[in-house]
Symmetry: C2
Subunit: 231 residues, 2 copies
Amino acid sequence: MAAIDRSLVRALPMFEKLSDAELDRMLARATLRRVPIGQAVFEQGQKATQFFLLLHGRLKVTQVTADGQQIIVRVVHPGDIFGFAKALMRDDYPGTPTAAAESLVLCWPTEVWGLFVEQNPHLAVNAMQTIGQRLQEAHTRIREMATEEVERRVAHAVLRLIDQAGRKEGEGIRIDFPISRQDIAEMTGTTLHTVSRILSAWEAKGLVEGGRQKLLVRDAAGLATLAEGES
Amino acid sequence: MAAIDRSLVRALPMFEKLSDAELDRMLARATLRRVPIGQAVFEQGQKATQFFLLLHGRLKVTQVTADGQQIIVRVVHPGDIFGFAKALMRDDYPGTPTAAAESLVLCWPTEVWGLFVEQNPHLAVNAMQTIGQRLQEAHTRIREMATEEVERRVAHAVLRLIDQAGRKEGEGIRIDFPISRQDIAEMTGTTLHTVSRILSAWEAKGLVEGGRQKLLVRDAAGLATLAEGES
DNA sequence: CAACCTGCTTGCGCGAGCGCAAAGACACTG
DNA sequence: CAGTGTCTTTGCGCTCGCGCAAGCAGGTTG
C-alpha cells in the first residue's frame, strides 16, 4: 500500500496540533478509498469495523425506518469525520452514508481510535466538540420540525446548505453538489411535491433559481427573512 | 462547606471505575444544591460556569424559539450529567433545565472538567458515550417527527418515558414524576389539545389511565403495537 | 437521432391536526 | 369550605400540506 501524503490532511483543523511525525504515524494505518456517486461507504446496521474521514466530495447520511421511509440525517462535508460508532460504544453503524458526488475517503480500523486518542488527547477533545456540535444541530432541527411550518423549514435547510456547501457564482450562491427535491424533502420531513411547489414559488419571487439536481440562491437575505417567519 | 458523602454517587456507572480517593477528590470540588419544583438550575443563553450531575428528582430541559414557542429537548434522570457545555466548546448553555420534581444536584465549576479528565480518562470516554447516546436519541426523534403521524409519536414518547422513568404499580406502569399534557405536546411537536384527545381515546381503549399531571400505562404492549403503526 | 429514464412540475381533492373557545375537574389557599 | 388558579376535556371549523395522477424536460444510451 502506498503511503498517503500528509498534505492531504495537513490543513484540517482536526489535525492542526499534530506534529508531522504523529500525522505520518496515523496515516500509515489508514487506507484511501474512492467512492463513486450513488455508492454507500457502509450500510446502516452493519458491524462497525472502521471509522472515516471525508477528504473530498460529499455524502448524504440516510436512515430508513422499519416501514421503508427514508430520511437524510445529515450531510458530510470534506474534513468531517464520520462512522466512529465505536467511540460512542455502539457496535453497528446507525446510518448509511451515500456519495452525492464522487468522493474520497480515509479509512481506519476502529481499534486504532483508542491508540490515537491516547497518543494525542487533542483528538478526543476535538471529536467531543464535533459530536457536541452535531447534537446542537440535531436539537435545532427537532425544534424546527416541532414549531415551524414546512416553508420555513425548507428555507432553514437551504440556508444551512449554502452555509456549509455554498460556492459563489455570479448572481448568487450555488449549492456545490447535486441535490434533488427529494433530498430536500427528506431533510425537512415533507414530500418532494411540496418542496417542488415551494421552490417554484420562490423562483417566481426571484429568491432562487432551480434546475435538475441544482439550486442557486439569488437572495440569501430574502430567504433568511422568510426563515425567521415574518409573514 | 460540609463534605459530600461518597455513597451518594458510588453506585453510578459514571464513577464505578474510580477509586474512593479519586472520588473524594472530585466531591471535594463539588457543591450540593436543592432545586425546588418549577425552578431552573440555569437559564438558556447564560454563560456556562458549572456542570452538573442529577442525584435525585427529574428535570425537563426546554428550549424557547425566537417567537416564544417552547419545546422539551429531553428529560434528565437521576445519574445523568448535564450542562457540560464547556466540554463541547460552547460557552453558554443551550437550554433551560427545570425541576419537574423536587431535585438534588451536584455542581462543579467548569474549570475542573479538564483536570478530572486528565486524572481519569475513563470519565471522558463515559462522557463521549453519553453524548453519543443523546445524539442517537435526537436522530431517532428527528426521524419520528419527519415520518410519523402525531398519534404514533405520542406513543413513542410515552414508551420512552416509561422506559426511563417507569415504576411498576399494580395494574400497570406509572410515569414516576409529574408530567402534563402540555409537556407531552412539547416533546412530540403537537398541541396540548391533540395530546388530550389522543390520551382520552387510549383511555377508552383501556391502554392508559390519565389524571392531573399523571399517567399510568396499563397495556405497554398495546401501545408498542400502536407505535409501530399497524393501523 | 430516437428512445428512455430519471427527476421536476402542477392540478385537484381530502383529511389530520391546529386554533379558538368554552366548560369541567382537581388541588391548593386563606 | 368557598374561592381561585391550573390542568384537562371536548366541540367545531378551517387550513396546510399530503396523496394521487398525469404530463413535462433534460440528459444519457444505443
